[in-house]
Each structure stands twice: as C-alpha cells, then as structure tokens.
C-alpha cells in the first residue's frame, strides 16, 4: 500500500486516501490511534459532503486490530452519512474475522467465484498456517482461510467454513464445510459430531445421511473420488 511520501508530520494522524475502484470507493486509513483515525476519517467524509452521497465504501484499515464494537461504530457512523460500508480490508486475521461476523466483505476486486472454485488467498500454500477459532459459529457467519481451520465450538446450520487445508471441529458440525477448497484432495474434515448440511472436499460434494446408531467422532476424507466418513479410531490413525 502506498503511503503519501511527504506528509506533514505535525498532523496527529495521516489523512485517509480515497480512490475510486470498480466496486465504489476504497479508503486507506493512516496509522496511529484508532479513535483519532476514526474521527479524522469521518471529518474527511463530512468535508466531501454530498459529493460522496450514496457511495459504497471499502475501508482498508491496514494493521489496525479492531474489535466488533469499533467496526460496528464505523459502520453506523458511515451509514448515518448516507454511505454504505460494505468491506473492510485488513492485514490482521482477527480483524478480518470480526468484519466477517458483522457481515462485511474482507476482499475486494474478486467477486465470489463460481462453485467449487477456491476462495482463499492463493499466495499461501495449503497447510502453511492454521487458525484457531474459539467460539460457536452461528447461522450467517462465514470463515474463510487459506490453510487449516480449527474450531472449538459448534458450527450451526447456515454457517460456512472454507479452508484450503483441513478442518477440525471440536464440537457439533451442522453447517456447510469445504476442505481443500483449492483442490487439495488429501484434505480431511474431523468433528465430534459430523453432521454437516453439506460437506465438500476439493471438488467433491457429499450430504450427511440420516444418522443411525450412537454418536462418534468422525473423520471425512476422499477415497477414490468418494467422500467417506469413518468413525475416529485411535488405533488406525497414523
């Protein structure tokens, strides 16, 4: 990201850069204390007045790590100016996740790809990193990650998880899950209760059959192009 080179150092915070993109406007905010950055951004929007009226904004918050309340306030303040905040770009996975739970996009320029193409960042090799999510994913929340995903909590129907690597759910998996989303056929999905609405591994899709018998932790993987779920057996695991 380009920062203005000769900025007036006396200014407490750098001014945000506003530029037009295909999806609306992209605003890149400066460094510094978030409250000041926030205030200065609003001031700038007010200065522009009716010129921006009705615009769709994507805000690149850079390295700021923002909580839900801060992002929510930003969205409210922006909507009060008759503008729409639709995306928040961030280099912090935490902030990206928070933005996603608020229903904001975290990527621009790439419209949602056709199924079953992969959505995660292609720069990261599968298996390079994993994220740990310690909460229940409720309907409407979406977790997207180039790498592995581990959730401690339930994944409710209506929630979706898309990973380029493996997915491990320490809880009930009832939502949609896509492992190996970039085409990795060796990806696996494990859950204490494996009952997803739909399960995808690479380009293969399966739905959960009616459950019979007692509940066991299970692992789903591909065998000759078929998604197979097996009861977790510690003796068989490598």
């Amino acid at each position: 990201m380009q920062q203005p080179s000769d900025l007036d150092k006396k200014n407490m915070v750098e001014k945000a850069q506003i530029k037009g993109i295909r999806e609306g406007l992209l605003i890149t905010v400066g460094e510094g204390d978030w409250e000041q950055v926030h205030a200065s951004l609003l001031e700038q929007l007010d200065e522009q007045g009716s010129f921006l009226h009705g615009a769709r904004l994507a805000v690149d918050v850079g390295t700021h790590v923002l909580k839900a309340a801060e992002l929510g306030k930003l969205r409210n303040d922006i909507s009060e100016r008759e503008l729409t905040l639709w995306a928040v770009l961030s280099s912090s996975p935490m902030t990206e996740q928070t933005a996603q739970t608020l229903g904001l996009a975290t990527r621009i320029g790439k419209p949602l790809p056709e199924y079953p193409a992969a959505r995660p960042d292609p720069n990261l090799q599968s298996g390079e990193e994993a994220i740990l999510v310690h909460r229940t994913l409720r309907s409407g929340s979406s977790l997207n990650h180039a790498g592995h995903i581990v959730v401690i909590g339930d994944v409710n129907p209506g929630a979706e998880i898309i990973a380029s690597g493996d997915v491990v759910i320490w809880g009930r998996l009832r939502g949609m899950v896509h492992a190996g989303a970039e085409g990795d056929e060796n990806a696996v999905v494990c859950a204490l209760d494996l009952s997803p609405t739909q399960l995808r591994i690479a380009g293969h899709i399966a739905v959960t059959p009616q459950r019979r018998g007692k509940l066991n932790p299970e692992k789903a993987h591909l065998v000759n192009g078929q998604v197979v779920a097996e009861t977790w057996d510690p003796k068989k695991s490598k």
């Binding site: 909580k67 839900a68 309340a69 929510g72 409210n76 409720r138 409407g140």
Partner: protein
Amino acid sequence: MPAKVVTVTSGKGGVGKTTATANIGAALAANNQKVVCIDADIGLRNLDVVLGLENRIVYDLVDVIEGRCRLRQAMIRDKRLPELYLIPAAQTRDKSAVSPSDMVRLCNELREEFDWVMIDSPAGIERGFRNALAPADIVIVITNPEVSAVRDADRIIGLIESEEKGPARLVLNRIKPSMVKRGDMLSMEDVLELLAVELIGLVPDDEVVVVSTNRGLPVALDGKSKAGQAFRNIARRLEGDQVPFLNLDDNGSFFDRLKSLIRPGGN
C-alpha cells in the same frame, strides 16, 4: 431509577415479537413498574393495535426524532394500566427515518423516568433491527419450535453477539405440547441444544392470544390463560425473580384437570 432497555427481536417475521412486547410490558406494568413500549417497526406498526391504543395516536416516534413534538406528547398512556405508555411508530415513513444513534438518544431520555423501556423490533436484520438493537441493555429473542424460525434466531443471536449486546435471552413461543409429545414438533431441548442461550420463557400455543390481540387486550392481564401466565412469568424473571417454568405437559386426563381445578394457576 434508571430504566433497563429491553429489545424484543426474532429475525423471522410472525413469531410473536409484538405480542410478546405488549404482554411483557403489560405484565411489568401490572406489577407496579413504570413501563414505556416503543414500536420500532416504522412503516408497519402493530404494537398500537395489539395494545388497543390505535385510535389515540396523535404524534409518533418519527415526530419526536424530527422535533415536531415533545417526547411527552408522543407517549400514549394506557387507561387500564396507568403505568404503561406507548410510543407508536410512524406508518407513513420507513426505517431510514430513524438512525441507531437517534434511538440511543431517545432511550437515554426515557431512562430517567421509567423502570423499563420495551422496544418492539421489526423482522429482518437490516436498518430497523439495528435501530432497535442499538439502545438495548437486554435482548430477548423470540422463536417458534420450527426449523426456519430457529435458524433465523441463531443468525440473530450471532449478530447480537457480534454487536456486543449479548448474551441474548430466549423465549420459545407457540409450543404445542401434544405435537412435541408425538415427536412432530421441535422440543425445548432441541431448540436449546442448537441455540445455547439462556431460556427466559416458554409460551404455549393458546387461541386466547389471537382473540386478545384482535381486541387489543393483552392476554397477560387474563388470569385464566396459560399463555398469559407464561408472559407474567417472563416479566417476573426480568425483575430478577426465580420462577419455575410452566408445566406444559397437559395430557388432559380427568385426574389432571381435577388437579388443576384444585390448584388454579399453579405453575
């Protein structure tokens, strides 16, 4: 005493938000609490009808926010319960007439004077919902024992958590014990297993509710109705009392009916 702001919401429409707001509000007012109900469903107002106050509306919520009248002037006092007031929604405008910070300001003004501010949220997850949620201290999520309503409740609970207004409390409305028993309806356990939030009320399906809603007489004021009893219990739980849940297992045998005659209104 500064009021508690309670927002009643559901995500899905038609599960009983307005009925619940009216009845919990009425039940609190009947316990000598000072209550104001706000209808945040601008453009599709209903709370005035359910409370039977439709013909007394002069000013509404949008008039207050846009400064056409004082807050006092928009508050309609219920004649049956002198401690119950209503601020109706505008019917000729839409949700964009109000912003979340308008609602916060309005509620802060009301907090000084009342014990409870009850907000009836519109269905959906857009502006209207955010308006209703912004000032809330307590959020009550209403759902029915149906898969679609529970799914929407789950989504709403997630949004409430991400706005840091949680944990939400759940009211399970319109339970038909006979259907649950036959396994044709989700049971309380099924719903709670998925939603994993605190239950604050179980309301049985009751035809009396339809009648009382149409007449504008809150069922909570009807001593005989089981649904009315359930709403009164929710009000008491909000006030901090420990109230056991109603036993909805109404198997209707002669002996049970005899018992309920001997202990009328027993829990």
